[in-house]
C-alpha cells in the first residue's frame, strides 16, 4: 500500500472513531438531561401521534423554516435534499461485490449534486450579503459552507467532467474499509480533496453546529405533547426536591406560614 493510502485509511478510522464516540457522548448528554417543564411551542400537538407527525414534518419538510423565510427554506431544502440523494448514491462504494439492481434506479441521483451546490451557494451568498445574517456569522459559519461547497464541486467534477476517477478502485478502497481488506486509493487531487474534507466533516460533527442533526429530535419545544393539564409531568430532580421537601413556602421568605 502506498503511504497516501495508509494515511487516508488511518484518517478514515480516526474520523469515524471521533464521530461515533463524540456523537454517542453528545446524544447521551441530550438524553440524560432532564426536561423539568412542559414547553411545547404553538402550533402544539395535543396527542403523541400529533407530536410524531409534527417532528416528521419538521425533519423532512422544514415546516417552521418554510413559515419563516422562503429563501432560506428553498436553499436549505435544496442542499439537504440533494445531500440525502447523493449520500444514498454513495452507498454503492461501500457495499462489497456486485450491487443489488436497485442501484440502477438511483443512478440519476447524481444530478442531486447540482441541487446541493446551488443550495449551498445560495446560503453562502445570503450569509455574505444579508446584513442581519452577516452580523450573526462567525468564521466557522462561512468555513462550513465553503467546505461543503468544495466537497460538492469536487465530487461533481469527478462525476460530470472528463476528470473521472477510477471508480472501481474507489469501490475497492471504500468497501475495503468496511470489511478491513485495505487497498490503495486513487490519488487524483480532486478525489483526495473530496475524501479529506468529508473526513474532516465527520470529525468535527460532534463539536460544531452540525449537532443540529441530533439536536432537533431532542428539542422539547418540538417533540413535547401539549397535555400538561391531563398528565403530570415531573423531572427526576424536581421529584427529588418535592419528596425531600426542599422548597418550602416558609424557607427564606414567608413569615406568614
Amino acid at each position: 500500500m502506498s503511504l497516501i493510502s495508509i494515511i487516508f485509511t488511518a484518517l478514515f478510522y480516526i474520523s469515524l472513531f471521533i464521530f461515533i464516540v463524540g456523537m454517542g457522548r453528545k446524544i447521551r448528554q441530550f438524553w440524560i438531561t432532564p426536561v423539568p417543564l412542559k414547553i411545547p411551542i404553538a402550533p402544539t400537538p395535543l396527542t403523541q401521534t400529533g407530536a410524531i407527525f409534527k417532528m416528521i414534518r419538521e425533519v423532512t419538510l422544514f415546516e417552521s423554516l418554510f413559515r419563516s423565510n422562503k429563501w432560506i427554506w428553498l436553499f436549505g431544502f435544496l442542499f439537504h435534499f440533494g445531500l440525502l440523494l447523493v449520500l444514498v448514491r454513495h452507498l454503492r462504494y461501500f457495499i462489497p461485490g456486485d450491487l443489488p439492481e436497485i442501484f440502477l434506479l438511483i443512478q440519476p441521483f447524481k444530478y442531486a449534486a447540482f441541487a446541493m451546490i446551488i443550495g449551498l451557494a445560495g446560503l453562502l451568498v445570503r450569509r455574505i450579503f444579508v446584513p442581519r445574517i452577516r452580523y450573526i456569522s462567525a468564521p466557522s459559519d462561512y468555513l462550513m459552507l465553503l467546505m461543503l461547497i468544495v466537497i460538492g464541486v469536487s465530487g461533481a467534477i469527478m462525476t460530470f467532467t472528463s476528470n473521472h476517477t477510477d471508480v472501481m478502485m474507489v469501490k475497492a478502497f471504500a468497501s475495503g474499509l468496511i470489511v478491513f481488506d485495505w487497498t490503495n486509493l486513487p490519488t487524483e487531487i480532486n478525489f483526495l480533496l473530496h475524501l479529506f474534507l468529508v473526513l474532516v466533516l465527520l470529525a468535527i460533527f460532534p463539536i460544531s453546529k452540525l449537532l443540529h442533526v441530533p439536536g432537533i429530535f431532542f428539542s422539547p419545544t418540538l417533540n413535547q405533547v401539549d397535555n400538561a393539564r391531563k398528565k403530570r409531568h415531573i423531572s427526576s430532580w424536581a421529584l427529588k426536591q418535592e419528596k425531600e421537601n426542599t422548597v418550602k413556602l416558609e424557607q427564606t421568605i414567608g413569615k406568614d406560614e
Binding site: 417543564l37 432560506i72 459559519d141 443540529h212 419545544t221 393539564r229
Partner: protein, 536 residues
C-alpha cells in the same frame, strides 16, 4: 418615565425589516435590585467578588438541569430565520435584539467555557470570554426580551429564546445582578400573597366596595367572595384585576358570569395573585414557591375547581406548569401521593385548572347566558392574542382552542369583530412590548419601541375597518397598552378586558325576576320534554 430622550417610532404602512444600527439600545438596563429585594429570594445584592466563577458554575448547573438550554445552545446553525421576528428588533433596529444575536450573548460564553472548539479556537467559532462588558450586555439585552417565544415558532429547531433568556437572568440573579422590578414584586407575592402587596383587610374592603358599586350600577347582588371555605371554584386572578383600569371591569365581568351561573366561588387572600414572576426570572424554585400558595389555598378552602382569570403568563404557568410544580391538574400516577392529595379533591369533570374564558365559553355553548349584544354596538373590536396564551397554552382541548375560544366569546357579545393581519395574530402574534418582566417605567423606551409592530397592525384595522376597541386577556398587555397607545395617537381607553365586553352585554337575572325566570325555564324544559315524548 425614563430620563433618557428617545424617538417614538412612526407607524409604517407595513412592517419593514430595519437596517441594523448596532448598540442603539446599549445601556445599563433596568434598575438593579438591592439587598433588601435580593436576599429574601436567596440571591446576593450586588455583584459578588468571584462572580465569574459563580456564573460559569451556574451555567453548567442550568444546562445539566434543562435539556432545552443544552440542546438550544448546541443546535443553532445561524440560519437567520429568526432575525426579523422579534418585535424589539423591528422597533429598535439594534442587532442584539435579533433572537439569535441575543442568544449568542449567552452561547458565545457557553462555547468559550464548555466546548472543545470554543476552548481551543475561540475566534473561529465566535466564542467569547465572560468579562464585565459581556455581563453588562447580558443584563441589558436579556431585559429587552419579553420571553414571548415568537422566534421559537419560526425556528427550524424550535429554539426558544425565552429559555435562554430565563437561564441568563437566573445566572445574573445568582451573581447578584437582579432586576428590581421583578424581585421586589416577588418579595410581595411570596410574603403578602400578591404583587401589589395588598393585605387581606385591604383586599376585603376593595371587594366589598366593588359589590356595592356593581349592585348600584346593575341592580343585581353580584358577589365577590373572599376566603369562603367549601366554595366550588377558587378563582386565581392577577391582582391588577382588583385595582387597575381597565382590568377591574374584567373582574366585574367574571363576577357577573359566576352570578348568572349560580355557582359558588371564592377568591383567596393567601393566594391572591395569578401572575407568577418566578417564570420571568427563570427560577424553578421561586416559581414553585409562588405556585405552592395556590395549592395550599385550594386545599385549605376545600374547593373542587381551580380557575384562572385573564392573565397571559399566569395562564402559561397554570396550564403548563402547575401540574408539575404543585399538582394542580390531573393525571398523577397512582403512587404520586403529593399530587393525588389535591387531585382527588378536584372535580375531574372539569379541566384543572380552567381558564375563565373556557368557563364562559362553555356556559355560552350550553345556552346558560343571555346577552344584549347591542350594548357593545358602538364598538368595533379586534383581539390581541397575548403571547403566553397564544404560544404556550391551549383552551378547550381542541387544536388552536386558545385562538378560537376568546374570539367566540367576543363574537357572542359583540356584533362587530375583525381580526388584525394574519401574520400578526394567533401563533405569530406580536407581543404588546411589556411582557416578561419589562412592565416598568425604567424600561419605557424599549416598551414603546417594542410595541411598534402591534401598533402598526392595529393602525391598519383602525384605518380600514374602523376598529376602536382592542380586547385582550392579559393583565400585562392591558397595562402596557394603556401606557403606549397614546404614544402612537390611539385612545388609551380602547384597551379592554374580554370580560368587560361580556360584562357590558350580559343580561343579569334580577333578584325577584330570578325566581320567575327559573320557573319559566322549568316550564320551557317541561314543554320540550313533552314534545319529545310526543314525537317518540
Amino acid at each position: 418615565m425614563a430620563a433618557k430622550e428617545f424617538d417614538i417610532p412612526e407607524l409604517p404602512t407595513y412592517i419593514e425589516i430595519p437596517e441594523l444600527i448596532p448598540d442603539v439600545m446599549k445601556g445599563e438596563g433596568p434598575f438593579k435590585a438591592i439587598d433588601e429585594f435580593q436576599n429574601p429570594l436567596g440571591f446576593p445584592g450586588g455583584k459578588v467578588d468571584n462572580w465569574k466563577e459563580v456564573a460559569i458554575e451556574k451555567m453548567g448547573d442550568l444546562k445539566s438541569k434543562y435539556r432545552s438550554v443544552q440542546v438550544f445552545l448546541d443546535s443553532c446553525v445561524k440560519c437567520g430565520a429568526c432575525t426579523d421576528k422579534c418585535h424589539y428588533f423591528l422597533g429598535s433596529s439594534d442587532p442584539k435584539n435579533m433572537p439569535v444575536a441575543r442568544q449568542d450573548l449567552f452561547r458565545s460564553v457557553y462555547r468559550r467555557y464548555f466546548t472543545f472548539a470554543g476552548k481551543h479556537f475561540p475566534k473561529l467559532v465566535g466564542a467569547k470570554d465572560l468579562d464585565d462588558e459581556m455581563v453588562d450586555d447580558w443584563y441589558n439585552y436579556f431585559h429587552q426580551c419579553s420571553q414571548c417565544r415568537r422566534c421559537s415558532v419560526f425556528c427550524p429547531y424550535g429554539i426558544d429564546t425565552a429559555e435562554i433568556s430565563m437561564a441568563a437572568r437566573e445566572v445574573l440573579d445568582t451573581i447578584g445582578l437582579g432586576q428590581k422590578y421583578c424581585n421586589q414584586i416577588l418579595g410581595k407575592a411570596l410574603t403578602i400573597g400578591n404583587n401589589l402587596g395588598l393585605p387581606e383587610p385591604a383586599l376585603r374592603d376593595t371587594l366589598l366596595d366593588l359589590e356595592e358599586e356593581v349592585e348600584e350600577d346593575f341592580g343585581a347582588p353580584v358577589k365577590f367572595p373572599l376566603d369562603i371555605k367549601g366554595s366550588e371554584i377558587l378563582l386565581i386572578t392577577p391582582s391588577a384585576d382588583f385595582f387597575a383600569e381597565p382590568h377591574i371591569d374584567g373582574l366585574i365581568g367574571y363576577g357577573k358570569v359566576f352570578y348568572q351561573d349560580g355557582v359558588s366561588w371564592t377568591l383567596s387572600s393567601y393566594a391572591s395573585e395569578g401572575a407568577n414572576f418566578g417564570m420571568f426570572i427563570g427560577s424553578y424554585d421561586i416559581m414553585r414557591k409562588a405556585a405552592l400558595r395556590i395549592r395550599k389555598a385550594a386545599l385549605d378552602l376545600e374547593v373542587s375547581r381551580v380557575m384562572v382569570g385573564e392573565c397571559g403568563h399566569a395562564w402559561r404557568v397554570a396550564y403548563s406548569f402547575w401540574n408539575t410544580l404543585s399538582g394542580v391538574g390531573a393525571g398523577a400516577q397512582s403512587g404520586d401521593e403529593y399530587a393525588l392529595k389535591l387531585q382527588n379533591q378536584l372535580d375531574d369533570r372539569y379541566p384543572q385548572p380552567q381558564h375563565i374564558i373556557e368557563y364562559t365559553y362553555d356556559l355560552i355553548q350550553r345556552g346558560k347566558l343571555n346577552f344584549d349584544k347591542s350594548e357593545n354596538d358602538e364598538r368595533t373590536v379586534t383581539f390581541h392574542d397575548s403571547c403566553n396564551v397564544a404560544r404556550a397554552t391551549n383552551m378547550g382541548g381542541i387544536e388552536g382552542g386558545q385562538f378560537i375560544l376568546p374570539r367566540e366569546v367576543i363574537k357572542a357579545v359583540c356584533n362587530n369583530y375583525v381580526d388584525m393581519e394574519r401574520s400578526t395574530i394567533k401563533e405569530a402574534t406580536f407581543c404588546c412590548g411589556g411582557g416578561g418582566g419589562l412592565l416598568t417605567d425604567d424600561l419605557m423606551e424599549i416598551r414603546i419601541k417594542g410595541a411598534m409592530p402591534r401598533m402598526q397592525a392595529l393602525k391598519q384595522v383602525e384605518t380600514n375597518e374602523g376598529v376602536n376597541t382592542l380586547a385582550a386577556i392579559c393583565a400585562i398587555c392591558k397595562s402596557q397598552f394603556s401606557k403606549v397607545l397614546p404614544k402612537f395617537d390611539f385612545d388609551p381607553y380602547m384597551i379592554v378586558s374580554v370580560h368587560q365586553l361580556v360584562s357590558a352585554a350580559i343580561i343579569l337575572d334580577k333578584p325577584q325576576e330570578a325566581i320567575q325566570m327559573s320557573e319559566s325555564q322549568t316550564e320551557a324544559t317541561d314543554a320540550v320534554e313533552a314534545k319529545e315524548a310526543e314525537t317518540e
